[in-house]
């Protein structure tokens, strides 16, 4: 089964053709990152404007790369949410139109399901599993008993982890998108700053706004005293707290649910600090750790096409009145 998938939930216009949920035939990703970097973050209206200018070209390029015609496609899949509503709508309308023209099923895919199934393109998922989803918009722990069954164990109560990275980056004068650079700086720094371990409790929830505020206050106080912030050390101290709490709660979930498979998904899955500590912890606990290739960490339509195959098998087929949802929990 060939699925043409479309993803436009934030600042990447992407289309992919995926065979049977596990084989990537072709993918095209057009990133708007350089444009949004001028504004220090994604500007929703600009993102929507760029999506509509590029959507048909990206779809066309995906077909050409696959040497396929639209008639060869068995179903169309699209990210319906969560994400920026104006951005989502461009991909959604394109997918609905194609489904209508070719009278093929329209498969609605939740963005987080996509991030999880990115791993299915590397190696077939094994169940039960715990998924740690970490990105600029999400921080969630999800339990999966079988394909396309999602039980949310916990999530962030305020900022997503990637969002906290970007904000801390701004405080220590690292340009947008700051996450990857903070990760890099952390490797050259020492954990010298006294920062709290955020929401260190027995739940599976996270909270990063307190930690972020602590960084802001500390930086402010140091500057008031005329001391320069040592970027590398601040990055290392911040990253250590984030990684510690993410790993602690993830390992707790694995233990509580007696699960031996862990998947990390989302943009922050590219974070080397997180990968390193998780790898050690998983080896110690005899847990099978799966981290996606770098190219599948950021938003892409390949992951949507992979998830769509299993969504379709579960019977998720949408009507032409399918709407985009800015906020929606994974079910």
């Amino acid at each position: 089964m060939y699925i043409l998938a479309i993803e436009t939930s934030c600042d990447e216009t992407s289309a992919s053709i995926i065979k049977d949920g596990c084989e990537e035939i072709s993918s095209v990703i057009l990133s708007q990152m350089n444009t949004h970097a001028n504004y220090g973050g994604v500007v929703p209206e600009i993102a929507s404007r760029m999506h509509i200018e590029n959507i048909t070209m990206v779809i066309d390029e995906a077909l050409k790369k696959a040497k396929m015609k639209m008639e060869d496609i068995d179903a169309f899949a699209v990210t319906y949410g969560p994400g920026l509503i104006g951005s989502l709508l461009v991909g959604l309308m394109a997918a609905k139109t194609l489904s209508f023209i070719y009278q093929k099923p329209l498969i609605p895919v939740h963005h987080i399901a996509g991030h999880i199934y990115a791993n299915n393109l590397v190696k077939r998922l094994e169940f039960p599993l715990i998924a740690l989803v970490v990105s600029g918009g999400h921080t969630e722990l999800i339990y999966m008993k079988e394909d396309y069954s999602f039980e949310k164990l916990g999530g962030t109560l305020d900022d997503a982890v990637g969002e906290a990275y970007d904000k801390v980056a701004r405080v220590i004068n690292v340009p947008y998108p700051g996450g990857p650079l903070v990760d890099k700086l952390a490797f050259d720094g020492q954990d010298t700053y006294d920062l709290p371990l955020p929401l260190n409790d027995n739940s599976y929830n996270f909270s990063f706004s307190g930690l972020k505020s602590a960084v802001i206050n500390l930086a402010h106080n140091e500057r008031q005293r005329g001391n320069e912030i040592i970027k590398e050390n601040m990055a290392a101290s911040f990253q250590n707290r984030v990684v510690e709490i993410l790993v602690k709660k993830t390992m707790k979930a694995l233990k509580d649910y007696d699960v031996k498979n862990l998947i990390v998904a989302g943009g922050v899955a590219a974070n080397k600090g997180l990968r390193t500590v998780l790898k050690e912890a998983c080896e110690k606990a005899d847990v099978n750790l799966i981290v996606p290739e770098m190219k599948y960490c950021t938003d892409n339509a390949a992951m949507i096409g992979a998830a769509a195959y299993y969504a379709y098998k579960r019977g998720d087929i949408a009507d032409l009145n399918l709407n985009a949802k800015a906020v929606d929990s994974l079910r």
Partner: protein
């Protein structure tokens, strides 16, 4: 020749199918608020009622703005996708011209904070004053034509799709990939960025 007309930029969602100069399907309702869910069912109904397939369409006329940014994008994404997928010629149309198609005058869309999108057309749909984003002033040709409520007198648009299509029947079709909305207004972020740029130079 069979034409498809789509306008989702203003308060009214309009979908029409024209067959050899006759309007064989016409949907024109003041229900553009949840346009993203309505658009495709309305389009599907248009083809069902006329027993046509999308493939039967020879040319698409699509409103590219000005108007609601999201509204413009919904209709334009659909039209672009059809035009690209089925290789159907596509022609961009102004929302203000459509509004002025029933009565000559100045079509207005409320752009808030005292600003309007305005365009003045005569009864042959010739442009007397090009579509623009401007502070409202009362020197424009009357009557004023608008779906929006203003504190001055406006007549409601009584649109004539056949007239619009006839006027643009022989316009050159554009490459669907290159077809862009005509917002007539930068985003706030871009305005601030440019302002900041000018001030620092």
């Amino acid at each position: 020749m069979k034409y498809l007309f789509i306008d989702s930029a203003t308060a009214n969602l309009v979908v029409a199918i024209i067959d050899n100069g006759k309007l064989i399907y016409f949907y024109n309702n003041n229900d553009n608020h949840d346009i993203s869910t309505k658009m495709m069912p309305v389009l599907s109904l248009a083809f069902n009622k006329t027993s046509l397939k999308v493939n039967d369409i020879d040319k698409i006329f699509v409103v590219v703005g000005p108007g609601s940014f999201t509204g413009i994008r919904v209709g334009l994404t659909v039209a672009k996708t059809i035009a690209y997928a089925l290789n159907i010629p596509i022609v961009p149309i102004s929302s203000l011209e459509v509004m002025a198609s029933g009565n000559a005058g100045t079509a207005l869309i409320n752009a808030r904070r005292g600003y309007v999108f305005a365009g003045t057309y005569d009864s042959e749909l010739n442009v007397l004053k090009a579509d623009s984003y401007m502070p409202m002033n009362h020197d424009l040709n009357k009557p004023y034509i608008s779906y929006d409520d203003f504190d001055f007198e406006c007549i409601k648009p009584d649109i004539d799709i056949l007239k619009v299509v006839k006027k643009h029947e022989n316009d050159l079709a554009v490459n669907p990939h290159a077809l862009k909305p005509k917002y007539l207004k930068m985003t706030e972020a871009e305005e601030n960025f440019l302002k900041h740029d000018r001030e620092s130079n």
